[in-house]
Amino acid sequence: MHLTDRQDIEVALFTEALRKRHGYDFGQYAPASFKRRVLGLVTALHLRSVSELTERVIHDEGFIHTVIERLSVPVSELFREPQTFVALRERVLPDLASYPHLNIWQAGCAHGEEAYSMAILLREAGMYERCQIYATDFSDAALAKAQEGIYPAREMPLYLENYRKAGGTARLQDYCTEKYDLLKMHDELRANITFANHNLVSDGVFGEMHLILCRNVLIYFTDPLQDRVLGLFRDSLVRGGYLCIGIKESLSFSGVASDFHLLSRELPVFRRTATAAP
């Protein structure tokens, strides 16, 4: 049997061990990229095989945290895919401006780059004071990093470029402090962000949201899990609420597509239709 087929067996057993031993279900992750991540984890931890990983997941107390951190959504950028922020600024926020209080859910927040970008966008729109951002992830390690809001300073040129393309109206340097080789986001940006653990695979509906951002997370899910998560988003949104996904994601292959309508053909910003089931 070819190594790659033996690895498939190992990945299936590893997935089973994670579920039975720790309650994490990766069974509905898109197999090709999930296998890559698992093999990457084996390499990064200098293990011999996925089986060794499985053994440690079962017997090594505490090892699960390392595994979950590495298998969760990868690191992002400030203002990644900046054209989406232009759409939010020009099309979505003016419409939401009439609400006295706004709930925003950023699902799969990883290290928080997107939550801080959103906070900056809302400040520049003069709306941050009446917004509550819930930034969630299933990795506690990621949430702790997100709470800190510290990023490598070498990324600053990319962030500046993104911020400019996103139509930023101030200076990005006004929102963070550069010290040694690190950038720290200012505390005032964190004031209305709540970082919380939520697993899209197993947890339920999340409040009465006006806007949900979940970018480049659905690409890692199989169809059934994608549909589950989109159903969760639909049921968490107020009528007319907005859903923003990654620029290369779409609802075309989803069973809940009819519950949303696309705002603009160029950008994946959707609005929950008024008739959608509650």
Partner: protein, 190 residues
């Protein structure tokens, strides 16, 4: 039966890809899936250029899209492109591989696992070593590896790296790669 052909190219790749695609005719049934390392800004231009060079339909690969025969797909900029078992595309924003995203290694490895001996992989000009590890897996799973002759490649490093790590079934000058693909596809149908 050859069902798909994956292609990796970097520096000098645009003109090499145009020349390669020009050599494929309407009867070519395998799906062609390409990773070309490109700046984001140049991507739409690249799609247009390849469309102009090719009688087969050319488009950017979409997440979850079923892969069609006789169609040419390009990996979108800044995303890895993978092939899933049901012969659909998947995208990822995981870490760069060989400093690039999309990486030919990621495409080649996932395609090799799906198509096995029904896959051909082509490594073209490029100034890095992306594609070499993927090419090795393609061959070890029974697929056919074609490497552009490094001596005539605009940037020899990428084909040379593939040759070092994976060897090759055919080392060819650019103008003989499309005829070889036609031959492999025809042999399949016989």
């Amino acid at each position: 039966m050859m069902e798909a052909c994956v292609v990796g190219a970097s520096t000098g790749g645009v003109s090499a890809l145009r020349s390669l695609l020009r050599g494929l005719d309407k009867g070519f049934r395998p799906s062609v899936i390409i990773v070309q390392h490109t700046a984001t800004e140049g991507f739409n231009v690249l799609v247009d250029l390849l469309r102009d060079s090719c009688v087969l339909p050319v488009s950017e690969a979409q997440s979850r899209e079923p892969i069609q025969p006789g169609h040419v797909y390009l990996a979108p900029p800044r995303y890895h492109l993978l092939v899933e078992r049901q012969q659909r595309f998947a995208l990822s924003v995981d870490e760069r591989v060989c400093h690039v995203r999309p990486a030919a290694d990621v495409l080649f490895q996932s395609a090799a696992e799906v198509w096995r001996d029904r896959l051909a992989a082509v490594v073209l000009t490029g100034a890095n070593d992306d594609g070499a590890r993927g090419a090795a897996l393609v061959r070890s799973l029974g697929g056919t590896l074609i490497v552009q002759d490094p001596q005539e490649a605009e940037a020899p490093e990428m084909p040379a790296a593939a040759l070092r790590l994976a060897g090759a079934d055919h080392v060819l000058p650019l103008n003989r790669i499309a005829p070889m693909l036609l031959k492999l596809a025809a042999r399949a149908n016989a």
